[in-house]
């Protein structure tokens, strides 16, 4: 964890056990204020459980967490939660009510003045300004998702946790939501977005958290990720220490050691590299060039983790 950085979410050894199985396994997660945190993981990896824990919907088995530097056990946590909005799994709406009635109802329990202008504006901002007396049960999945976002915005949150927000949206809906997220982030709202659509996450995320089987494998900024994903050469060897030392002697500077391979992003061809290592008495049998995207990076990370 970097020092002197303001975190809106910070977990410490956070765990949740269901039927003796860790759904969340000692997670130490940090979300920087003003960031868009892309939360990446396969189905059942623990993303939703972490969001549920952070929102107080589930109680941690062990570990703790801070929201806006306030510990979950603090009496101030209820006031802090008021700064946060979340969609967990799917937006929670009253099906027998219209879009306007749903927002009016939310205003009441949020303790906000039921301002008709604010409600109309919120609906317009998500493209639901003209739904009239149509009740939510007759809404499409995409419309419900957008109404869920409008509901979140009512409270003027400082942190929004969105669990699979792109689900059910058509391509134009996805693009609109992306623009909305970027726009709101510019206004100072921090986001945690879990999504399977990694290509979409890549367009908005400033930071990433990769999770698998309840364990947070890695937290990385988009700049660092870009660096790690750029074109490079990966080599595997039974004695990585020896190889690393040889690479330093050769004069290569952009060398990164991973648990089961070494990655080189210096301007050198695989053939030249093999030749130079051969001259140092090292024979490499497993060498490959790589240019990965977030998805491949994640898959690589899971593989690396499993092999580790």
């Amino acid at each position: 964890m970097e020092e002197n950085i303001e975190y809106v979410v910070s977990t410490s050894e956070l765990s949740k056990v269901y039927n003796k199985v860790y759904a969340v396994d000692h997670v130490n997660m940090h979300i920087k204020k003003g960031s868009i945190y892309g939360f990446v993981g396969e189905n059942g990896s623990g993303k939703t459980t972490i969001i549920r824990l952070l929102m107080g919907l589930a109680l941690p088995t062990t570990g703790t967490y801070d929201l806006f530097n306030e510990n979950v056990k603090s009496k101030k946590i209820y006031a802090i939660r008021n700064k946060i909005s979340a969609i967990v799994e799917a937006p929670s709406l009253v099906p027998s009510m219209t879009a306007k009635e749903n927002l009016r109802y939310a205003c009441m329990y949020y303790g906000i003045k039921e301002d008709e202008e604010l409600i109309a504006e919120s609906l317009k901002s998500v493209g639901l300004g003209d739904t009239g007396k149509k009740t939510v049960k007759n809404f499409s999945l995409g419309m419900r998702q957008r109404l869920g976002i409008a509901l979140l915005l009512l409270n003027k949150p400082e942190l929004m946790l969105l669990d699979e927000p792109m689900n059910g949206l058509d391509p134009s809906g996805v693009a609109e939501l992306r623009e909305l997220i970027i726009d709101l982030n510019k206004q100072g709202i921090t986001f945690l977005i879990s999504s399977h659509i990694l290509s979409e996450l890549e367009k908005v995320a400033t930071h990433y958290g990769f999770i698998s089987h309840g364990k947070l494998l890695k937290e990385i900024s988009s700049e660092e990720l870009l660096e790690e994903c750029q074109k490079g050469i990966e080599i595997k060897h039974h004695d990585l220490d020896l190889v690393e030392k040889a690479l330093q002697e050769i004069g290569l500077k952009q060398v990164k050691r991973n648990p089961n391979h070494i990655r080189i992003t210096d301007d050198i061809t695989p053939l030249e590299l093999l030749q130079k290592l051969h001259n140092k008495g090292i024979e490499i049998s497993d060498i490959r060039t790589s240019d990965v995207n977030v998805e491949e990076y994640y898959l690589h990370l899971i593989g690396g983790n499993q092999n580790a």
């Binding site: 109680l59 008021n82 946060i84 909005s85 009253v94 099906p95 109802y105 329990y109 949020y110």
Partner: protein, 267 residues
């Protein structure tokens, strides 16, 4: 807390369950009055005794629909939204209970007024035949306390099980059993001892629905009309038992429900 109750009532009055229960109430009220009129048994005082009895007619329809409404709060995610909005689970549970009380008393009150009022208008009401104003006031107090208990019980099982079928089954079985229990125990006592059918039985200190179960039961009404027992006399112990016992049970279910809700996860 006030915002929460305001929101819950806003939702309640727009909820189909409330509307459907109200329609059931009006239809059932008309049906009860017509049937009793048809068989020549329509009397204001008789209808007063039987209308609000838990465990029968509309007395069963109200908790059933209250459970449907409360389970809906969990399944539609409105409870989840309230937790996310930063409301404490204590406030949310009390909000559910108070909304349940409003649900129960509006519907039950309107139904009772409709049945007793129309019966009294059609066939008159002989207050003295049911022990006079003192008994009527005591009985109203018993009914109110019983429905506070029934609301606490319904909200408890609805939020514990969060399944309409399961919660309804448990609550209905309990309500029917508790209203029939006076008949079973007093009947057994009368059979064993060969008489002595008195309203103030020891089980009134345990059974929250003892008084309404006893007085709403036709079998006892027959004894009353034949003058075998001093039916409508209310001693201090009976009044205390009829009011305090259901309230103690109600508090127990509210506190127990709150405790379980506070330490359980919400989907």
């Amino acid at each position: 807390m006030l915002n929460l109750i305001k929101a819950s009532l806003y939702k309640l009055f727009r909820d189909k369950t409330f509307l459907v229960t109200a329609i059931i109430g009006v239809v059932l009220a008309a049906f009860m009055v017509l049937i009793n009129y048809g068989i020549g048994a329509l009397k204001g005082e008789t209808m007063f005794m039987s209308t609000a009895t838990p465990g029968s007619n509309f007395g069963l329809a109200v908790p059933i629909n209250l459970i449907v409404f409360t389970v809906g709060e969990f399944t539609y995610g409105t409870v989840r939204n309230k937790i996310i909005a930063g409301l404490s689970k204590t406030k949310i549970y009390f909000g559910l209970f108070i909304t349940g009380l409003v649900f129960t008393f509006i519907l039950m009150g309107a139904y009772s007024l409709l049945v007793v009022g129309s019966s009294s208008l059609i066939s008159g009401c002989d207050i003295e035949a049911i022990g006079g104003i003192k008994f009527i006031l005591c009985y109203i107090a018993y009914v109110i306390c019983d429905y506070i208990f029934i609301t606490a019980l319904s909200v408890f099982f609805a939020s514990l099980i969060r399944s309409i079928g399961g919660a309804i089954s448990i609550v209905i079985i309990l309500l029917v059993f508790l209203t029939l229990l006076p008949l079973i125990l007093l009947g057994a006592q009368a059979t064993i001892s060969g008489g002595g059918l008195a309203p103030d039985h020891w089980s009134m200190w345990i059974n929250p629905l003892y008084m309404t179960g006893f007085y709403g039961n036709n079998v006892f009404a027959i004894f009353a009309s034949s003058g075998i027992i001093n039916f409508f006399d209310q001693n201090v112990q009976m009044v205390c038992a009829g009011i305090i016992v259901p309230l103690i049970w109600a508090v127990a279910f509210v506190v127990g429900g709150l405790f379980i809700f506070k330490y359980s996860d919400v989907k």
